[in-house]
């Protein structure tokens, strides 16, 4: 049997809760075992918005950890074009290259992966 592929879905914005950070930990761990991809939906896309300055809040800027994904072999990183548009964002505003998919393609993505974990 071929190794199962994991899709990690990030839905929460950063800093308001630990969800995104613990979700990213799960992606990094998953990449040590099998093929993994990340999908940013809704406010999840804000996790990788550029230029997060967390000093005054005394929070941790874990967005930079996303830059290590390629080193971990995680190269399939997606988001929803509609969710970008709703937030007046483009992929240029993000700290790493992300494939923006039309809504119709997101459901097909769910088909490609064997396990879907949402954070």
């Amino acid at each position: 049997m071929a190794m199962k592929k994991f899709l990690f879905v990030q839905t929460q914005p950063p800093h308001g809760s630990i969800n995104g950070q613990e979700g990213l930990d799960a992606v990094l761990m998953g990449s040590a075992f099998t093929e993994c991809a990340v999908l940013f939906l809704d406010d999840g896309i804000y996790q990788i918005l550029s230029d997060q300055q967390t000093g005054p809040l005394n929070s941790k800027d874990y967005s930079v950890t996303y830059l290590a994904l390629a080193d971990y072999g995680v190269n399939n990183i997606y988001c929803c074009q509609t969710h970008l548009n709703e937030r007046s964002l483009s992929t240029k505003d993000l700290i790493l290259p992300v494939q923006a998919l039309p809504e119709a393609s997101i459901r097909r993505l769910f088909d490609e992966y064997d396990v879907i974990l949402s954070f």
Binding site: E22, A26, M29, F33, V115, L117
Partner: protein
Amino acid sequence: MKFAIAVFGAPYSSQASLSALHFAQAVTLAKHELYRVFFYHDGVLNGNNLMVPPQDELNLQNAWVEFAATSKSELVVCIASALRRGMLNAEETRRYEKTASSLDPAFIISGLGQLIDAGLQADRLVTFN
């Protein structure tokens, strides 16, 4: 069929724990195998053996321990989530020189790899968030 369950919510504050418990009981009732219950995020708080809910409310930590004892299922809490939330077993209490431990011994502290392993080994991984 081989099931695994992931629990992300705190007892009481979220219903995730109660839903997962009902689901876990139904899994074993149907004679399926329950490979592992993995507690992540605030889910690790389910292992707190100091909780004293009112008499007329379910003690969720006790309920999980009883369930594990009768079903022979494994209860695993993520170590990183547990440390951040102060859910330590005796070994971690010693390691970090803390004053006490609050994680019930029926819960195993292990790495996040056990969540990935559950997804790989089980036929179905069902999340209660």
